[in-house]
């Protein structure tokens, strides 16, 4: 059941209605059952994975807590086993196809004989997200936090349907506190939640799905286009993935708000980041903070030598890349960001030590320039993220960086995207995206700093009504799934 599907538009109000009319003690169990129903609506068999994993982690948390509180010297072992079991599950379902095909390719390379090994394991939706929540839970208990007593509460933490498939990755102390708070029906929940859902849907249906047409056209055969066109496609994908994922997050946050739950933000205008480190503080915030808290800090963080810090950064980002998908292009994307972070650290250190061009680096010009440079570096990263064929990705990046050739190799002195017989969708998409992009930034800004909340209700309602009418008018025949659902 996609967030943008008609089924969800039936499911959500039904669950919200049921939630608020039921007695308080039945609300959380009902929400848990609804969450499992939501999960089972994709492939019912995967309930046989998420429910036992939830039960196992809940019990493991209790055992670990006992060991921690008794300080019996086995707490590291229990933590290791718990994390190992979760990673094993993730590995089997997410990476077995990848690992087998990689071994197959290596053997083929070495022996010149194709062993023909292949497996076909279907990836359960949301496994990367709830596995990370389980690992976080075990880590926090290891660090001395109390486990969740009730299985229903723990199951709801892991399966809460608004965040179940693609996050944001929740933190259990915060979520547990919200679950334990007795809620009274407030119209303000709807006044905050409904606009978020509408804005999220508009981001997905009006922006991301329309940009997808342009991206698909360009990146299906990048050899046919000149460098400026490839940059255009890279920009288009940068905004497609941003609107797709942040749209999903908005719908998730808005849906949770209808039950009185506050889910943390996941994006904070990432494309105005001044460097790659800043970008990771603004992009997929729940993942980057998870990566910081769990692999990076336990690896030593930035406490050791410079080279150890670089190693930790590199490994963390490479793992982050691999988390996004079982494919080498995601590893390359992670490695690219790891290298960018290292280069940025070195650059900052060099600048501080040499004090060179101190005034320039403090100026507004450098501020703007650094945003432009960071955005373009991120766009190069997105090429690796989007294109599974690494050879094509490197070829495309080479063309983009060298700006050669300017025009399409197929049609000299012309940009293919400007061909007069292309359907009107291309200029329309460009115009619409430009217009909506311009207004999306102020809206995002207002959303984050509260200005949007302070606007008069009729103004906000007019904006929401406009988005609803635009969405209904340009409703696509079939809904495209969210990009992050594959992770």
């Amino acid at each position: 059941m996609l967030f943008t599907s008609f089924q969800y538009l039936l499911f959500l109000p039904a669950v919200v209605l049921l939630y608020w009319i039921l007695p308080v003690k039945w609300r959380l169990p009902m929400l848990m059952v609804a969450s499992y129903f939501f999960y089972g609506s994709w492939i019912p068999a995967f309930l046989l994975l998420i429910i036992p994993m939830t039960l196992l982690n809940w019990l493991w948390g209790k055992v670990l807590y006992k060991s921690v509180s008794q300080n019996d010297g086995h707490k590291k072992l229990w933590l290791g086993l718990g994390i190992g079991a979760n990673l094993l599950c993730l590995g089997v379902f997410k990476y077995s196809n990848f690992m087998v095909s990689t071994v197959d390719s290596i053997l083929h390379l070495v022996t010149r004989h194709d062993p023909g090994w292949a497996v076909n394991v279907i990836l359960p939706l949301g496994i990367s997200f709830f596995t990370f929540e389980f690992i976080h839970y075990l880590f926090e208990i290891y660090r001395g936090n109390k486990p969740i007593d009730s299985f229903v509460l723990f199951a709801l933490f892991a399966a809460f349907f608004p965040t179940q498939i693609a996050g944001p990755i929740k933190r259990y102390p915060d979520f547990q506190a919200q679950m334990l708070t007795e809620k009274k029906l407030h119209l303000s929940y709807f006044d905050e939640g409904v606009p978020l859902i509408i804005i999220g849907m508009a981001k997905k249906l009006l922006l991301a799905d329309n940009l997808a047409v342009l991206v698909q056209m360009g990146l299906s055969d990048p050899t046919a286009y000149g460098a400026p066109e490839l940059w255009l496609f890279a920009y288009a994908f940068a905004f497609q993935i941003y609107f797709d994922f942040s749209g999903y997050t908005d719908i998730a946050r808005g849906s949770a708000m209808l039950f009185g739950y506050h889910i943390p933000i996941n994006f904070n205008m990432p494309y105005i980041a001044k460097n790659v480190s800043d970008f990771w503080h603004r992009w997929h915030i729940s993942l980057s903070s998870w990566l910081r808290d769990y692999p990076f800090i336990p690896l030593g963080g930035s406490r050791g030598s410079k080279w150890m810090t670089h190693r930790n950064l590199f490994l963390t980002m490479a793992l982050g890349g691999l988390w996004h998908g079982a494919s080498w292009n995601f590893v390359v994307w992670g490695v690219f960001h790891g290298l960018c972070l290292i280069v940025h650290r070195e650059f900052v250190e060099w600048r501080t030590q040499t004090q060179i061009l101190k005034e320039f680096f403090a100026s507004k010009v450098w501020n703007v320039l650094s945003i432009i440079i960071t955005f373009h570096a991120v766009c190069i990263g997105w090429v690796f993220f989007r294109m599974q064929n690494i050879g094509w990705a490197f070829g495309m990046v080479k063309k983009m960086v060298t700006m050669h050739p300017i025009y399409s190799p197929v049609e000299a002195h012309h940009f293919l995207v400007m061909k007069p017989d292309l359907p009107v969708v291309v200029p329309v998409v460009l115009i619409m995206v430009a217009a909506l992009l311009l207004q999306n930034f102020p809206v995002s800004a207002m959303n984050e700093n509260g200005t949007f909340k302070r606007l008069a209700a009729p103004l906000k309602a007019a904006f929401c009504s406009f988005l609803i009418l635009a969405m209904v008018t340009f409703l696509p025949d079939s809904a495209k799934p969210f990009i992050y659902f594959q992770f």
Partner: protein, 443 residues
């Protein structure tokens, strides 16, 4: 402040409530003011939307009860307009404006009506419900809705051609303009009985049961939403308006389909020999085809040049190819349903295989063409209808057509004269049309 004052104040500050109020206001505007109504004569209404089919609800909801109904595609509309124009001394036109504002909306067949009345010795009223680009399923739906609305024709002419059964450019059965415009008289049963996605063989085959159920839920949702929220039901008209306006402003085609049509026309243009182009230019001062798909009010075009079969590439690459057996069989079933309905209601039916050019026929494999004709004849026989193929008894040359399938004025006269002769000659049809005051079911 009393309780209600507080409540009103709270509601006044609610985004959710304000949004609902605004959406209701928009809906009331759509229903009671209908802004698009004021744009009927403008260039901004999509080709595939209401102007093409607006005559259908108008006819179905009217008190008109004609003696004869004609269902079919543009193949029965174009010659009707050409012949009626010639008969009424109206200077017919061959430009986009005329096509949009006269041919598409035309619902009469005066020449046929006059000829038939003269031949039978009594007046006969005819309603021409031909719809541009419609498929066999649309013909059936129109006939079904007309009968359900209480129309009691004494004869139905169902005019078909191979395109009506195998056009790959057409949408799914439930997505055609005809279906959409008659949707307000569609029932939930229609949706439940429909074969979702059966217009596309590949898609249909790959859909499993949960997907089909989800699709049904979506369609039922669409149906319910358009009942509750009128804007939802007419959103296609507004989308077409915006798209056409953008297309006009940017000088681009409105859709990929129209872009392909433009390309095909360019391609066809390239293959014309020089002499032909010059001849065309001499006859046709308004040669600018850049506006295909963009509904510009171009200069009137009173002359039609030599038939260069400009639609042949389109038929070859898209309409007939690749052949979709699922679509074909589905559309044949709709013909069968139409024949069965006529038989049940005891309404005599004349199935006409419309004349098209040999060049168009040659695009179909010989076996498929023969099989198609045989199926028409067999089905007509099985359901007690009359089948005629005018091309068998009269010679229709390529020069008798405006393109590969639309007859021009001369061929139109020939066709209607032949039709009158066939009807008069056929005792059952003749008797049915001449019966007066007889109730349907008594025949």
């Amino acid at each position: 402040m009393n309780f209600f004052g507080k409540l009103l104040s709270r509601l006044n500050n609610s985004v959710t409530l304000w949004t609902l109020v605004m959406l209701v206001a928009v809906d009331l505007t759509v229903v009671y003011i209908n802004p698009l109504r004021y744009l009927n004569d403008s260039a901004y209404i999509g080709l595939n939307q209401n102007p093409v089919v607006s005559k259908l609800p108008e006819f179905i909801n009217s008190l008109r009860n004609p003696d004869m109904l004609i269902v079919g595609s543009s193949l029965v509309l174009v010659p009707a307009v050409r012949c009626d124009d010639a008969m009424n001394h109206i200077r017919t036109r061959y430009d986009g404006w005329y096509y949009r504002n006269r041919i598409q909306e035309y619902n009469r067949s005066e020449y046929l009506q006059k000829s038939l009345s003269r031949a039978l010795g009594q007046s006969v009223e005819i309603a021409n419900l031909g719809v541009v680009g419609s498929m066999m399923s649309d013909h059936y739906l129109i006939f079904k809705k007309a009968v359900a609305a209480g129309k009691t024709p004494k004869l139905v002419i169902c005019a078909v051609a191979p395109r009506d059964f195998m056009d790959n450019c057409r949408a799914e059965v439930e997505q055609t303009p005809t279906y959409k415009v008659l949707a307000d008289v569609t029932s939930i049963n229609d949706i439940l009985e429909s074969q979702s996605g059966s217009g596309n063989a590949t898609n249909n085959a790959s859909k499993n049961l949960p997907q089909k159920i989800a699709q049904k839920i979506d369609r039922l949702g669409d149906f319910a939403a358009s009942k509750i929220w009128h804007y939802f039901g007419s959103r296609g008209d507004y989308r077409d308006f915006l798209v056409a306006m953008t297309a006009t402003a940017t000088g681009r085609p409105m859709s990929l389909y129209m872009a392909n049509v433009m390309n095909e026309e360019k391609l066809a243009g390239k293959h014309k020999d020089k002499e032909e182009t010059q001849a065309q230019a001499a006859l046709d001062p308004d040669q600018d085809m850049g506006g295909v798909g963009v509904l510009t009010n171009s200069k009137p075009k009173y002359l039609h040049g030599p038939n260069v079969l400009s639609d042949i590439p389109l038929y070859k690459t898209r309409v007939y190819s690749p052949f979709n057996p699922v679509l074909y069989n589905q559309q044949m079933r709709y013909l069968e349903k139409l024949l069965a309905l006529a038989q049940t209601k005891q309404i005599p039916l004349l199935l006409v295989n419309m004349p098209i050019t040999d060049e168009n026929i040659s695009l179909l494999p010989k076996e498929r063409w023969q099989n198609y004709r045989k199926q028409l004849a067999d089905l007509a026989t099985n359901y007690g209808a009359t089948f005629i193929d005018p091309k068998e008894s009269a010679n229709y040359l390529t020069t008798d057509f405006e393109d590969s399938c639309h007859m021009d004025t001369k061929a139109g006269f020939k066709f209607y004269d032949q039709l009158v002769r066939d009807i008069v000659k056929n005792q059952a049809l003749n008797a049915s049309l001449c019966s007066r005051g007889q109730l349907i079911g008594q025949r």
